[in-house]
C-alpha cells in the first residue's frame, strides 16, 4: 500500500505516449493481474506439493504394513508363549492364534499380499480381539478419535494464543514468569501422566467429571453424556499441546513486537490492539504452524495414550488392545490409518503455511 502511494505520482509524471503500449505499471488492473498470476502459480505449486506428498504416502504406508507383518513373523512368541506370555506374564489364550491364523497360510509376504489386496477392496479382515470385522470397528471408533483430537488441538490453540499474548504483553509481571516456568515444566510430562493426573484430580479427588468411557454405564448415547465424558480426554490432549504451542508463539510474538514491522505500524499511528491483532499475531503464527506440521505425529500418538487411560472408545485404544491381543489385522489397519492421519495432517499444516506466508516456497517443503 505504501509502495503504491509512493509510486503513483511517479507514474503520472511519466510521459503518456511512451507507456501507451501496455497498461501503466502500477495501475490497479495491472497489479491485480500480477497478483492473480502469482496466486495461480503458487496454486499450481501447492498442487505439485500435495501430489508429491501423496505419492510418497502410499509406498510408505505399504512399507509400514509390510514391516508389521514381517515383525509378526519374526516375533519369538508362539502358541505357548502366547498363553503364558514371553516372560511369564499371563495373556489371553487365543492371542497368538490370531497371528498364526493370519500368517499360517504361507510366508508373511503372501499373507501381507492377501491382507493388502483385501484391504484395497474395502475389507481389512476380521478382528479376533473384538470378534468383529475390522472395517466395522474402525468406522465405529474413527469419529470419536477425530472428535477429541480436533477439539483438543483447537482448544489448545485458543488457550495458547491467550497465554502467549498475556505473557508477551506483560513480560515482567510475576504471573507471566510463573506461567512460563509452569509451561516449561509441563513440556516434560508424558501424556499418559497428564491423563492420570487429570483423572486423579477432577474425577476421583473432586468428583466433578466422569473418570472414563463415552457414557455412564448403561446410559443412552446422548449429546449431554458425550459432552461431559469428553471433557477430560479433550483436556488431556490440550494440556499436552499447550506448552509447546504457547512457548513458541510467545517467542515469535516477542520477536514481532520488537521488530521493524510493528515499529512501522506504531509510527503510522495504529492503535495498539490493531497492531497486536492484525500485525504481530498473524506474523507470529507462521513459525508455530510450521512447527505444528512436525509435531503432528506426536499429537496423534499422545491422543492414543489418552484414549487408553481415560477409556475413550477411539482408534488409539483399539490399537493398544490389538497390540496386547496380537490381533494382527486390526493392528496393521489401525497402525496404517493413524500413520496416514499424521502424514495428511503434516501436509495440511504445510499447505496452511504456504497460504499464510507468501515467502514460503512450496517447492522447498
Amino acid at each position: 500500500m505504501v509502495e503504491r502511494r509512493v509510486l503513483d505520482p511517479a507514474v503520472s509524471m511519466t510521459p503518456a505516449p511512451e507507456r501507451a503500449v501496455g497498461p501503466p505499471l502500477a495501475s490497479p488492473g495491472a497489479s491485480q493481474g500480477a497478483v492473480r498470476a502469482t496466486r495461480n502459480r503458487r496454486g499450481r505449486l501447492v498442487g505439485v506439493l500435495v501430489g508429491r506428498r501423496l505419492a510418497w504416502t502410499v509406498p510408505l504406508l505399504a512399507v509400514i504394513s509390510l514391516g508389521i507383518f514381517a515383525l509378526a513373523a519374526l516375533s519369538p512368541a508362539d502358541a505357548t508363549t502366547g498363553f503364558l506370555g514371553a516372560r511369564g506374564e499371563f495373556t489371553p489364550a487365543s492371542s497368538r492364534d490370531n497371528v498364526e491364523e493370519l500368517l499360517g497360510h504361507g510366508t508373511w509376504l503372501e499373507s501381507w499380499l492377501a491382507w493388502a489386496g483385501s484391504t484395497l477392496t474395502g475389507d481389512p479382515g476380521w478382528s479376533t480381539a473384538y470378534r468383529a470385522p475390522v472395517a466395522e470397528i474402525v468406522a465405529a471408533r474413527l469419529p470419536w478419535t477425530v472428535l477429541i483430537m480436533a477439539t483438543g488441538v483447537l482448544s489448545a490453540a485458543v488457550l495458547s494464543v491467550v497465554l502467549a499474548l498475556g505473557v508477551a504483553l506483560t513480560p515482567h509481571h510475576p504471573v507471566s514468569r510463573t506461567v512460563v516456568g509452569g509451561l516449561w515444566a509441563v513440556t516434560a510430562l508424558p501424556s499418559f501422566l497428564v491423563s492420570l493426573g487429570l483423572m486423579a484430580v477432577f474425577a476421583i479427588g473432586l468428583g466433578w467429571l466422569p473418570a472414563g468411557g463415552l457414557t455412564n454405564p448403561g446410559a443412552d448415547l446422548t449429546a449431554g453424556q458425550v459432552a461431559t465424558h469428553m471433557v477430560l480426554p479433550t483436556a488431556a490432549v490440550a494440556v499436552s499441546q499447550v506448552p509447546w504451542m504457547s512457548l513458541h508463539l510467545h517467542e515469535a510474538l516477542r520477536a514481532q513486537l520488537n521488530g521493524p514491522a510493528v515499529e512501522a505500524a506504531r509510527v503510522r499511528g495504529l492503535s495498539e490492539p490493531t497492531i497486536v491483532a492484525r500485525h504481530a499475531l498473524p506474523a507470529a503464527a507462521i513459525p508455530v504452524v510450521a512447527i505444528a506440521g512436525t509435531r503432528l505425529p506426536e499429537i496423534v500418538a499422545g491422543a492414543a495414550v489418552v484414549e487408553l487411560v481415560l477409556s475413550w472408545p477411539g482408534l488409539g485404544q483399539a490399537l493398544v488392545e490389538a497390540a496386547l491381543a496380537q490381533d494382527l489385522a486390526l493392528l496393521a489397519t489401525v497402525g496404517v490409518l493413524l500413520t496416514a492421519a499424521s502424514l495428511l495432517g503434516g501436509l495440511l499444516a504445510d499447505v496452511a503455511l504456504v497460504a499464510l506466508d507468501p515467502r514460503t516456497d512450496p517447492r522447498e517443503l
Binding site: W56, L60, I64, I68, L71, A72, L74, S75, P76, A77, G85, A86, R87, G88, E89, V167, A168, P171, H172, S176, R177, V179, V180, G181, W184, A185, T187, A188, L189, P190, F192, L193, L196, G197, A200, A211, W244, H250, E251, R254, N258, T294, P297, E298, A301, G302, A304, V305, V320, A322, A323, L324, Q326, L331, G335, L338, T339, S342, L343, G346
Partner: protein, 310 residues
C-alpha cells in the same frame, strides 16, 4: 558480541574491581535496548539461569544416588509379597507406603527408577550411535544417495514414534531389550541431521580441504577431523534424548507392552498405581509419577536449549 560493546563493557566495569580480579560472569552482554527496558531477567528468558541449573543437577544427582544406593543399602526385598501389610500409606517402616500386594514402594521405586534410567540411557546412546553413523555416511557419500537418505529421514520423522513403538513392542513382549531397540530405532533421525549438517559445514573449511589434498580418505576425514569436534554436541543430543526415552519406556510398560507387572520400572509402578488410585491409595501413584516428572524436568532444565525440547 562485537568489539565495541566489549570495550564499553570493560570500561564500565574496570573501575569497580582490582585489575587482577577474575573476569565478570560470562553472561552474554544485553543489547542496548534490553539494557534500557529489561533491567532484570525477564519471564521470557529462554535459557535457564545458573541457580536453576545447579538445582536441577543437585536433584538429578540425588535421584541417581537414590536409584543406585537404595537397592544396595536398604535391605527390604522389592519383590517380597506380604499381604498383611498391603496398601498401607507412608510410615517409618515403609517411607513411600506399600502396594496392594504389600511390597515396599521405597525399594521398588528405587529399583524401578534404576531400570528405567538404564533403559533410557541405553536407548539414547543407541539412537546417537545410529544417528552419527547415518549422518556421517550421508554427508561423506553425498549426491543422490544423500538426498534420498534425507528424504527417508523426513519420512521416518513423519511416522508417530510411539505408535511404531507400540507395534514393535507388541511382538516382543516383556523384553527390555526390545524397548531399548525401539527407542534407538525411532529417535536417531535428529542426531543424523545434526551430524550431517555439521560435517557438511566442516567440509568447506580450509584445514579439511588441506587434509583432502593430502590424500585423506573419507573415513579418515570423519574419524580424525569430524567426530572429535562433534563430541560435545553429541553428548548434549544424547542427554536431550534421555527424557524422551524415559517417556517411551514408561509409556510402553504402562500400556502393558514392556516389562511384566511384577518387575519394577516406572511404567509398571504407574500401571499398578492407576489401579490403586481408584481405591484411594494415592501414594502408590504419586511416588513413581513424581520420580518420572523430576527426572524429565531436571534433565530438560539442565540441558534445555532455547529452541525447546527436541
Amino acid at each position: 558480541m562485537n568489539s565495541e560493546t566489549l570495550r564499553t563493557h570493560t570500561t564500565l566495569t574496570a573501575g569497580g574491581r582490582a585489575p587482577d580480579a577474575p573476569p565478570p560472569a560470562r553472561r552474554p552482554l544485553p543489547s542496548r535496548q534490553s539494557r534500557q527496558f529489561r533491567p532484570s531477567r525477564g519471564a521470557h528468558d529462554a535459557t535457564p539461569g545458573r541457580a536453576v541449573r545447579i538445582l536441577c543437577a543437585t536433584v538429578l544427582a540425588a535421584l541417581v544416588a537414590y536409584a543406585v544406593l537404595v537397592p544396595i543399602l536398604f535391605t527390604v526385598d522389592p519383590f517380597l509379597v506380604d499381604y498383611r501389610t498391603g496398601a498401607q500409606g507412608p510410615s517409618p517402616a515403609h517411607p513411600f507406603g506399600t502396594d496392594v500386594a504389600g511390597r515396599d514402594l521405597f525399594s521398588r521405586s528405587a529399583a524401578g527408577l534404576r531400570v528405567s534410567l538404564i533403559a533410557a540411557i541405553a536407548g539414547a546412546a543407541g539412537a546417537v550411535v545410529i544417528g552419527t553413523a547415518a549422518g556421517a555416511t550421508c554427508a561423506m557419500v553425498g549426491g543422490r544417495f544423500d538426498r534420498w537418505c534425507m528424504r527417508g529421514v523426513d519420512t521416518l520423522n513423519a511416522v508417530p514414534h510411539l505408535l511404531l513403538g507400540i507395534v514393535v513392542a507388541s511382538f516382543f513382549r516383556g523384553s527390555l531389550l526390545a524397548i531399548v531397540m525401539v527407542v534407538a530405532v525411532t529417535h536417531w533421525t535428529q542426531t543424523a541431521r545434526l551430524v550431517r549438517s555439521e560435517i557438511l559445514t566442516l567440509r568447506a573449511q580450509d584445514h579439511v580441504r588441506a587434509a583432502v589434498s593430502q590424500g585423506f580418505t573419507r573415513l579418515q576425514l570423519v574419524r580424525h577431523l569430524g567426530l572429535p569436534l562433534l563430541g560435545g554436541q553429541l553428548a548434549v543430543a544424547a542427554g536431550l534424548l534421555v527424557p524422551h526415552a524415559v517417556w517411551h519406556e514408561s509409556t510402553l510398560t504402562f500400556i502393558g507392552l514392556g516389562l511384566p507387572p511384577h518387575q519394577p520400572s516406572l511404567g509398571s509402578l504407574l500401571q499398578l498405581g492407576q489401579e490403586a488410585l481408584l481405591s484411594g491409595a494415592w501414594w502408590s501413584i504419586a511416588v513413581p509419577a513424581g520420580l518420572l516428572v523430576l527426572v524429565t524436568v531436571c534433565l530438560a532444565g539442565l540441558l534445555r536449549s532455547p529452541a525447546g525440547r527436541s
